[in-house]
Symmetry: C2
Subunit: 251 residues, 2 copies
């Protein structure tokens, strides 16, 4: 087992940190967002055995690299990740940001190698879900199988939405949509929808949205002048969410 750098540990080694490993999913506060969403108690207990390991990933560290052999998918338990693909000549672009409850590594299934690199933007922790075992278990637990298919499909839709954004809109629109997306995902997780801290740099936002960091910075400044948001470094406060929504899909 190759472990680039991240600490691997089995739950329970850190006494009392979380529920014992054998109850990984059924006890997890995220199970309404994750693979276990909507499962009844009986099914929940059957999938507990799936997560035998968790892994901590320090800020700036890679969970996996493009080209690494694929064995597992990961569920973000805490923290924040980016995934980046790269073009032949070395230019790289961010294809997504992942937060608690979201899956990582689905792109590895098709070729048995990860297609992109996943890097933690802050100290994070993931659940390691061995893929072959999950497939097996999916055959026994239809609700798990369905959830998995739904989540993969959701990834697809997300990527396609981003495609539309990149293909047919201007800078302000992209930034507006980006902020709204973050806001919604955070609020779904119980955080404030109108005030949050960006975990990524301007350059990373730009990479994600197909813009240069200067453009991101200028656009944020402009939105602040327009009283739509308040920006202070990485701290964002949304003042006029209506205006944001309007900008995100009009003009």
């Amino acid at each position: 087992m190759s472990d680039h750098s991240g600490q691997i540990y089995t739950l329970g080694q850190h006494a009392g940190l979380h529920a014992p490993l054998k109850n990984a999913c059924s006890q997890c506060s995220l199970h309404e967002l994750c693979l276990a969403e909507g499962l009844d108690l009986a099914d929940l207990m059957r999938i507990d055995e799936l997560v035998q390991k968790r892994r901590r990933v320090a800020r700036q560290e890679a969970l996996y690299q493009a080209g690494d052999p694929f064995t597992a998918i990961y569920a973000v338990r805490s923290g924040f990740f980016k995934t980046e693909g790269l073009l032949g000549d070395g230019r790289e672009q961010i294809t997504g940001f992942q937060m608690a409850g979201e899956l990582l590594g689905l792109d590895g299934i098709s070729t048995e190698r990860y297609a992109c690199t996943a890097v933690a933007l802050e100290d994070s922790e993931v659940c390691v879900i061995p893929f072959a075992e999950m497939e097996d278990l999916g055959r026994a637990v239809p609700a798990l199988q369905r959830n998995f298919h739904r989540l993969m499909s959701r990834e697809l839709v997300q990527d396609q939405n981003l495609l539309v954004l990149l293909g047919s809109s201007r800078a302000e629109e992209r930034i507006a949509a980006f902020l709204l997306n973050l806001s919604r995902r955070l609020s779904r997780r119980g955080y404030a929808a109108s005030e949050f801290v960006l975990r990524m740099t301007r350059e990373e936002i730009g990479s994600y949205l197909g813009l240069k960091l200067e453009t991101v910075s200028r656009t944020l400044s402009k939105m602040q002048r327009q009283q739509i948001i308040e920006v202070q470094q990485r701290h964002i406060r949304i003042i006029d969410i209506g205006a944001l929504e309007q900008q995100s899909q009009c003009q």
Copy 2:
């Protein structure tokens, strides 16, 4: 059963047109590209029952529309499709082109409604794969399940590649990558790799690549002047595939 407009028929009604329905997949010439890829004979026969219907879709007709309730995924049997998503204000963008052996409708799984609209670019035919039944069968036939997961993952990777292309490259690069992609997919299906007919308009290419149709046209003309390709309306001949590959990921 709502049928927008496409003819639905069960195989066998058209006497002798194809193999009888009960052998849908095992007899299909595309089974090496499609869901049945790599299955052994025993498994092949088990999934034959999955495809009870085919459906013809005339040029310009929609196979499904964004928002339609999701019940089935589709495998392209012959012809050519585009899928388009739309932004709130009505602008729409093409998120993919699908040819024989490729799947359509995966984006519907997550919300039980299709997220985009699939339109035939030429008279086409698809296999209707009822999704619930496919999931059921996947639990009985692991190889089918694995194929399905692989195909979904491949979709993801494709979208992400396109994302990288849209986010960090210029017009020439996008067009070059687009032509190469088409060329590879066609040659995989036994067609000539260096000479083909585009099934889509310049505007559709532009929509897919995040460019205006004039830019597409100009770029193709420029590549012709550079002796990289020969263009005559929708007929394309690739003269210097090396140059194309270079343009597709450099500079």
